[in-house]
Symmetry: C2
Subunit: 329 residues, 2 copies
């Protein structure tokens, strides 16, 4: 296994330790948990945002903890939902008296465990609400999901709801912003290789040297087609068209774009793809307001990428421009 690790069973623990060692000015570990919180948490008088999920998607989610984005991120084992008690610890660590919004990617285990944590928190008199992100247009229902999967579009929900919370908005207002973002964001991905799972040291699935898979999920869940590897331009056309076919984004709209690498694809290739995505959107009558290119929601070392489009309005543009202090944005 070509990995820089010690004991695969300790990889999440050691990652969290190394992260706090590097960024103690920004982040803290909630002792005895897998929760990373803002160093200044709880922020009194502010709605708090909690997200998380299985590990292996770094920098998501702990890399988005900080001023203007998340208050805490909970890490499960690799590609495994965190348990309800861990999510509860996150909620308790960041509640500043104005309530906590949970931002959950739509995987059955995550939804179940975050909802159970919300119930436990309410028993402790903490107000909790939630939004579920399901931006992946590739497939309805999947290996770990009923309904669409949540992928890189989740970062836009973190960013915009985070900015709204930072502005002093109420829990209901922050939730409304998060829900508007979920309604306006769609993503579509593709993969060239499987992620190498640390516990087994093996690829999560087999894919031939000349093949790619369109619509693959960030845990290696099946996509919609396996084809010979196409050119970057053809891949851009396929991903953008599938997103637009979903009907949320119309010619004339202003959009934010995210070109997200899955871990093994170099920045060089993400920029090549972005050149074509940008051309396509302009041809189709869109105005690209802002573009993010990099690794935001990875799948360990998977080669591949996703494209995310977010429809903007004046409120969302203002929130997108708000300052942040996190590792990932």
């Amino acid at each position: 296994m070509k990995k820089v690790i010690n004991d695969p069973n300790q990889i999440v623990e050691e990652m969290l330790k190394g992260m706090v060692a590097a960024h103690g000015d920004l982040l803290k570990r909630v002792e005895g948990t897998t929760v990373i919180a803002r160093a200044d948490a709880p922020v009194q008088g502010k709605v708090a945002l909690v997200s998380g999920g299985g590990s292996g998607h770094e920098p998501a989610h702990a890399g988005f903890v900080g001023k203007g984005v998340l208050d805490a991120a909970v890490s499960g084992e690799v590609f495994t939902s965190p348990t309800p008690d861990q999510v509860l610890e996150a909620i308790k660590a960041v509640d500043g008296g104005e309530g906590v919004l949970l931002i959950i990617k739509n995987y059955t285990g995550d939804v179940m465990n975050f909802e159970m944590a919300a119930e436990l928190a309410e028993m402790e008199e903490i107000r909790v609400d939630k939004v579920i992100v399901n931006d992946d247009v590739a497939v309805e229902d999947s290996t770990y999901t009923t309904g669409r999967r949540g992928i890189a579009g989740t970062l836009f929900v973190h960013k915009l709801a985070g900015a709204k919370a930072e502005s002093g908005a109420s829990l209901a207002e922050v939730k409304a912003t998060a829900e508007k973002t979920v309604a306006n964001v769609r993503s579509m991905g593709m993969a060239l290789t499987a992620a190498t799972i640390p516990s087994t040291g093996k690829a999560g699935f087999q894919i031939a040297e000349d093949e790619m898979e369109i619509g693959m999920g960030i845990h290696g869940e099946p996509g919609i087609s396996r084809d010979k590897i196409k050119s970057a331009d053809e891949i851009a056309e396929t991903l953008v068209q599938k997103i637009l076919d979903d009907g949320v984004h119309q010619s004339g709209d202003e959009v934010a774009v995210m070109i997200n690498g899955l871990g093994g694809t170099p920045l060089m290739e993400l920029y090549v793809l972005n050149g074509k995505v940008n051309d396509l959107l302009k041809e189709k009558g869109f105005t690209v307001h802002k573009t993010f290119v990099g690794e935001y929601m990875t799948a360990i070392d998977m080669a591949g990428l996703s494209v995310t489009l977010l429809k903007l309005d004046d409120e969302l543009k203002e929130l997108l421009a708000a300052p942040t202090n996190t590792l990932g944005f």
Copy 2:
């Protein structure tokens, strides 16, 4: 070849196009060249910084163009020095009347071409000076180098000289800061896989599934030993010890640390390594002032990483903390 590309011969051109399409608020292309400059270049009355080198190391160097760091970056073909005329275009595009400092990684081709560009610029009455970065302690002399190679420590030279230039310092003062940084910075890397070169579609060298190479260069140049893959803790010990053996960093020093991924190694593993590096430095009596973990100077999709230590003093700490507006910092 598992890459998202069109024509391998157009990959640098298409990357630069996609980069400017994404970040036009921050960066501009100097027309007809491979130069990426600050959108507001030339900045009158400020010493300008130019760096660059072969492509394939992204985000270096164009990702460090912007306020507080570089004024321009010149991109050669993949793993190939930019030509003198391209470097000259960069110098001309950013000179704001106070002179231009070239920051050159120590590879024979880069040094020759940047020096030739400096001579050409001086014929056009532009003051130019240079520093050469040779932070890699692995080997003396190498495939493309006489003397030590320049690797991820170059980013600290960009950052600190950039902050000095932004403060209004003279060309001589900015050069002195850059030289102090070069004197204080040392790096050491290792690799688990070869980079896949776009023009050939093949790995640059062969390495067995259970092997790693200590001291490998960022173009796949030979290192100092090939061994069975060791644990992250053992790798950390080897890299840190080799750096400390060079004698620049002494117990009691304050240091900045960079854990740099080479492209194919996930952030998770970089953080695991950082946990051990941090422990080792503390045990040895160092104070870790600031830590950078991520991809700064990559080798396309190579799995592997490098550790960089920078000895700090009050001036360098202040410059390290100065604000920046770039993609990479």
